[in-house]
């Protein structure tokens, strides 16, 4: 065997082994997806059945009597509007931090600190305020909370992207008579569009996956999809096919988004300290 053949063989063996490890690691997720296409009796069978007659009963159940589509719509509307608000507010703030020469140390530190606050430590006062304002179980309250808790992350991330834009571009545009807003809108935003999109995707995922605030602040009208899944766990047993089906519906778009944006994923999760 020539050395190139040997190298090729080695690469093949390594590939197979690593894919084996990957599949092994993903068994909990694979099992979850299979559960969505399986009768609950098959799910509970021992030895486990990897091969079974696939069924859509779980999907029929959640999109029939449970009206899961309605909760999905709530989740989608709330997460989309919150994301839109976040980008609308975070982008100018990030621009000002990078370009307008403000010594906003206090503001910088307060957004880092705000990022570290555990959700549960603000959930009770927010619940009380929601009662006072009559906002329990409304879109508005979840949108306001989701937008605010994700704002520090978004400002930080947008700031990192704006810093990659050469400052000379701004100076040139200003000399040519552009207003600051025009520079922001026509120079910085287009150049950082990819970064803004990545930021938006991560904010959307965070809103889409959130349970605690939805659990506390909503119960029917504005209930989100993760909250609806809590109810698949009933007193007379857990409907595994419904949970599997709901999980497939809920997690597929998130996985597609995250994989598409993986280039930015780590940068975002570490607030830019790892590129």
């Amino acid at each position: 065997m020539s050395s190139t053949q040997k190298a090729l063989l080695k690469k093949l063996v390594v590939t197979a082994a690593f894919f084996g490890i990957g599949v092994f690691y993903l068994i909990p997720y694979i099992w979850l997806v299979l559960t969505g296409f399986r009768m609950t009796v098959d799910t509970l069978a021992i030895p486990p059945r990897f091969i079974f007659a696939p069924t859509f009963s779980g999907f029929k159940y959640i999109f029939g009597p449970v009206r899961f589509q309605w909760y999905l719509l709530n989740s989608f509307v709330i997460a989309s509007i919150a994301t839109f608000v976040v980008i609308l507010v975070a982008a100018p703030a990030a621009y000002a931090l990078v370009n307008l020469g403000i010594r906003a140390k206090t503001f910088l530190y307060s957004i880092i600190v705000a990022r570290m606050i555990p959700a549960v430590s603000i959930v009770v006062p927010i619940y009380l305020m929601a009662i006072k304002l009559g906002l329990l179980d409304t879109y508005q309250i979840l949108i306001a909370i989701y937008a605010t808790v994700n704002l520090p992350f978004a400002i930080w991330m947008m700031r990192a992207f704006f810093r990659d834009v050469p400052p000379s571009l701004r100076e040139a545009a200003i000399i040519d008579g552009c207003s600051e807003f025009r520079v922001f809108r026509s120079v910085f935003m287009p150049i950082s569009a990819g970064g803004a999109l990545a930021t938006a995707v991560f904010v959307f995922i965070a809103c889409w996956n959130e349970l605690l605030f939805a659990l506390v602040l909503t119960n029917s009208k504005a209930a989100t999809a993760p909250l609806a899944m809590v109810n698949f766990r009933t007193d007379w047993g857990i409907q595994w096919n419904a949970i599997g089906a709901g999980a497939v519906v809920l997690s597929t778009p998130v996985i597609v988004f995250a994989v598409a944006m993986q280039r930015y994923l780590i940068r975002g999760m570490t607030m830019g300290s790892v590129k």
Binding site: G22, Y25, M116, A119, S121, L212
Partner: protein
């Protein structure tokens, strides 16, 4: 630039950050100030008018002397540190693996992202099935391998089970951070070390591990802080039970808040929790603040 110019531009700058500042003040700062005030009262949703009933430090004192609270602190810290230590080691190995050359690299790298982004509430809910004593695939595998089945969610094992669940979900985060670290390594130095006769073990220790050190610190800091606040998946899997063995500070604060409606007490717990998290994240906050200044 003249002084007037600077002050004019910074005034405009504050205008640009004002919507963000307004949101943070209205939706985060105000409720927190409200809860700070409430933490010094006997406020309870069950007795009207009690929010004016000032009791001094009594809520804090009661919380700090409560054995259940101390247990929750220990559980939270143990959960975060144990899970993060395992994730760090496993994640580094996975990163070394993903850094090798093989076919279809992007496919495999993407696959490791999946656990990170699956809704935590679903992870908690679904792991009930995986951990099931008779129907779960974990026990099936254990029995096949000749071990006796484990009652994963009983008093003796539930804590280990929440740690394992988090290890599954968060190891990919460490793997991807370490992978970014490995890819920023200068291959020439590695080559030079080899030529100079360094053993593979020496290369690994002095060049790989020491190079990854800052990445390890950053990933661990972020994850420890997030793990201390974990609620969704623990709540769905065990809801803090059986007994109190998986009751972390998040679960306990939630339960005291929404089972007893003792607002004064909950507010004190929330503030103590925040204080603990801020102390632990102190170094990270300083690091982020400092590096952000140095960059530009």
């Amino acid at each position: 630039m003249s002084r007037e110019h600077i002050s004019a531009s910074s005034l405009r700058g504050y205008l640009w950050i004002s919507p963000a500042a307004a949101m943070l003040i209205l939706v985060l700062a105000l409720p927190m100030i409200y809860s700070l005030k409430a933490s010094f009262t006997a406020s309870s949703l069950l007795s009207p008018g009690s929010e004016q009933d000032f009791v001094g430090w009594s809520n804090y004192w009661q919380t700090l002397t409560d054995p259940e609270y101390r247990m929750a602190v220990v559980t939270t810290v143990a959960y975060a540190i144990l899970a993060v230590s395992i994730e760090l080691v496993l994640g580094t190995f996975v990163a070394l693996m993903l850094n090798e050359t093989f076919f279809l690299t992007p496919v495999l790298r993407s696959a490791w992202i999946v656990p990170m982004v699956v809704t935590p509430a679903i992870v908690g809910l679904f792991w009930i099935l995986l951990y099931d004593e008779t129907h779960g695939i974990f026990n099936y595998a254990l029995v096949k391998l000749g071990f006796s089945p484990v009652p994963w969610l009983d008093v003796n094992h539930a804590f280990t089970s929440i740690v394992i669940m988090d290890v599954w979900q968060s190891t990919p985060f460490f793997a991807l951070v370490m992978l970014a670290g490995l890819q920023s390594r200068n291959e020439e130095i590695l080559e030079a070390a080899r030529v100079d006769g360094a053993s593979p073990l020496q290369c690994f220790y002095y060049l790989t591990i020491s190079h990854l050190m800052p990445y390890m610190l950053i990933a661990s800091s972020f994850r420890i802080i997030a793990a201390m606040g974990d609620f969704d998946k623990i709540y769905m899997l065990t809801a803090g039970g059986p007994g109190l063995v998986t009751t972390t500070l998040s679960i306990q604060t939630y339960k005291v808040g929404f089972n007893t409606f003792d607002i004064g007490r909950t507010a004190a717990m929330a503030w103590l929790f925040l204080l603990i998290v801020l102390i632990i994240s102190g170094p990270l906050i300083c690091y982020l603040g400092k590096t952000s200044d140095a960059e530009r």
